[in-house]
């Protein structure tokens, strides 16, 4: 069990203590995982498929409840979290997925505005913040386009704008470059680094060796549900 020095506590964004996740099917996805991620960190979680990366992210999003152990995210202790408090936690998190998860029948603008509408932001703020966010991700001129009219890289940038518009403390990204070519991959990763430089904690689940090795960030490697390495400025460890 990790014992955190008192003075660290305010700076810790994500804590997992002895977390075990066993699915009802019997699959053991994570075994006794303990880690902490500090405010402003950029962390890669890597591992082959089935290693438990996505499960870890879903636990952080409170989509799943661990079989054992404690999770604390952005100051919320998940063991004490009531169902009606879940939206409060999620408003502190931004998420990005491999398949973008944009709403197909809404324009770029509406997709980003949707994130603000959902948390009941007043309309006048939405009108101001959405264009600013689209400018930041370089899609200001495509605000009227529908997702199907955009390239994969552009769609992922819309997803990023949507994740960022509510000014989250943490960005959780699950294989954000999985469906992108090399050029778009770097565009998205550079954007994530920019966001991180402005103080947002970023957690990226990936199996893209190239970006992990090039970016020299903290790398947590999982194998069969266990952390086998956790290295500052690390690289991709080939399990085989």
């Amino acid at each position: 069990m990790i014992v955190f020095p008192k003075e660290w506590k305010d700076t810790i964004m994500i804590t997992m203590e002895n977390v075990t996740m066993k699915y009802p099917t019997g699959t053991l996805a994570l075994q006794d995982i303990s880690l902490h991620i500090e405010k402003g960190e950029f962390v890669f979680i890597v591992g082959s498929s089935g290693s438990g990366k996505t499960t870890m992210l879903e636990l952080m999003l409170r989509e799943l409840v661990p079989t054992k152990g404690k999770i604390k995210v952005a100051g919320f202790d998940y063991t004490k979290l009531k169902r009606r408090q879940i939206p409060k936690v999620r408003r502190k998190l931004g998420f990005v997925f491999q398949n973008f998860r944009l709403i197909k029948d809404r324009t770029v603008y509406e997709n980003v505005a949707f994130a603000q509408r959902v948390i009941e932001t007043p309309a006048r703020y939405i009108r101001r913040q959405v264009p600013a966010m689209l400018t930041m991700v370089g899609l200001a001129d495509k605000y009227k386009s529908y997702p199907r009219q955009l390239s994969g890289g552009e769609q992922q940038r819309v997803a990023l704008a949507r994740a960022l518009v509510n000014k989250p403390d943490i960005i959780l990204a699950d294989e954000p470059t999985g469906n992108l070519d090399s050029k778009n991959t770097w565009e998205v990763m550079n954007l994530l680094e920019d966001i991180n430089n402005k103080g947002t904690t970023v957690v990226v689940v990936t199996h893209n060796k190239e970006i992990v090795n090039a970016m020299k960030k903290r790398v947590i490697t999982l194998k069969k549900g266990v952390i086998i390495s956790d290295v500052e400025k690390g690289g991709y460890i080939d399990e085989d």
Binding site: L61, R90, R101, I103, F114, A115, R117, E120, P122, N166
Partner: protein, 302 residues
């Protein structure tokens, strides 16, 4: 919830109806059918009840007194009967009145008959109270009570008619509640299906909403709007149809079977729809609300 969110929920709810147009129409159709039947049954029941009330009003009980009873004693009996709440009307028929009524009903020339008897009233000792009750169900109890009053010789009542009317009344009441309950359950089931389809179609969107941090109320509101609007439309249509149909049927029946008019009186449209219209609309809204509330509760646990 903010006002802008309420506007958003309303717009989304209406959009949902358009998106699932076919299923929305199917739900509306079912509610129309159910509430049409409900309205029809209601109209029949109200008219039936009115007819029963008329019959009940005519089922009277006659209370005869002991021979040679004094006026004071009759007054005492009158007071005792008055204390009973189920009494609707009570008329005193004196022996003279009774003889007069009898002679008018049974002789071709009542005047001549009365002259033949002169002052000798064949129905002396036949003074009575004619009583009608508010509800024929109370008749048996009432008859028992009155028979025990001192000075009462005989109580005459039509037990057979009263029992039949009461039985029919009870049967119609239970049958209508049963049929209406089934219709409502079917409506709720169908609305619930429509909403489930709406949720399935928008599963991804709902999942994204929940992950962004939408509250359950926010996710749910458009579906509730959808259900309530479907319920409202589904209830308004049969009310309008029934209103015109009811008027037309009355006109037809009264025009065609003039004889009915003297024995049966239809409840006027205004009176009937003053209750039926708001009740139908409320039921429609209620079915829509309950159907969508139950369905969203089941499906929104993300």
């Amino acid at each position: 919830m903010r006002i802008s969110s309420i506007g958003y929920s309303l717009r989304q709810g209406l959009k949902n109806i358009r998106r699932n147009l076919l299923f929305s129409l199917a739900s509306i159709g079912t509610i129309v059918a159910c509430l049409f039947l409900f309205g029809l049954m209601y109209a029949v029941i109200v008219n039936f009840r009115t007819a029963i009330k008329n019959i009940e009003g005519n089922i009277s009980i006659s209370v005869f007194f002991d021979a040679g009873i004094s006026d004071d004693q009759i007054d005492m009996i009158r007071e005792q009967i008055r204390t009973r709440e189920e009494v609707s009307t009570m008329d005193f028929i004196s022996a003279e009145d009774a003889w007069k009524q009898f002679s008018e009903a049974n002789y071709d020339d009542p005047e001549a008959a009365r002259e033949t008897f002169g002052t000798d009233n064949p129905l002396a000792n036949s003074a009575s109270f004619t009583i009608t009750l508010k509800d024929v169900n109370y008749q048996a109890d009432f008859v028992t009570f009155v028979s025990q009053i001192k000075g009462v010789r005989k109580v005459k009542s039509s037990e057979y008619t009263a029992n039949n009317v009461a039985a029919i009344n009870t049967f119609v009441g239970y049958a209508s509640v049963f049929i209406i309950a089934i219709l409502f359950l079917v409506s709720i089931f169908l609305i619930s299906n429509t909403i489930t389809i709406g949720i399935t179609v928008r599963k991804e969107e709902i999942k994204i909403m929940k992950l962004i941090g939408a509250t359950n109320a926010f996710v749910r509101a458009p579906f509730i709007v959808e259900g309530v609007v479907i319920g409202l439309i589904g209830s308004a249509i049969p009310v309008v149809i029934l209103y015109y149909m009811y008027g037309a049927i009355i006109d037809y029946v009264v025009g065609r079977f003039a004889v009915l008019k003297s024995i049966f009186e239809f409840v006027p449209e205004q009176e009937l729809f003053m209750v039926l219209a708001p009740v139908s609309l409320l039921i429609g809204i209620g079915i829509g609300f309950i159907g969508s509330w139950m369905t969203t509760r089941k499906h929104l646990r993300v």
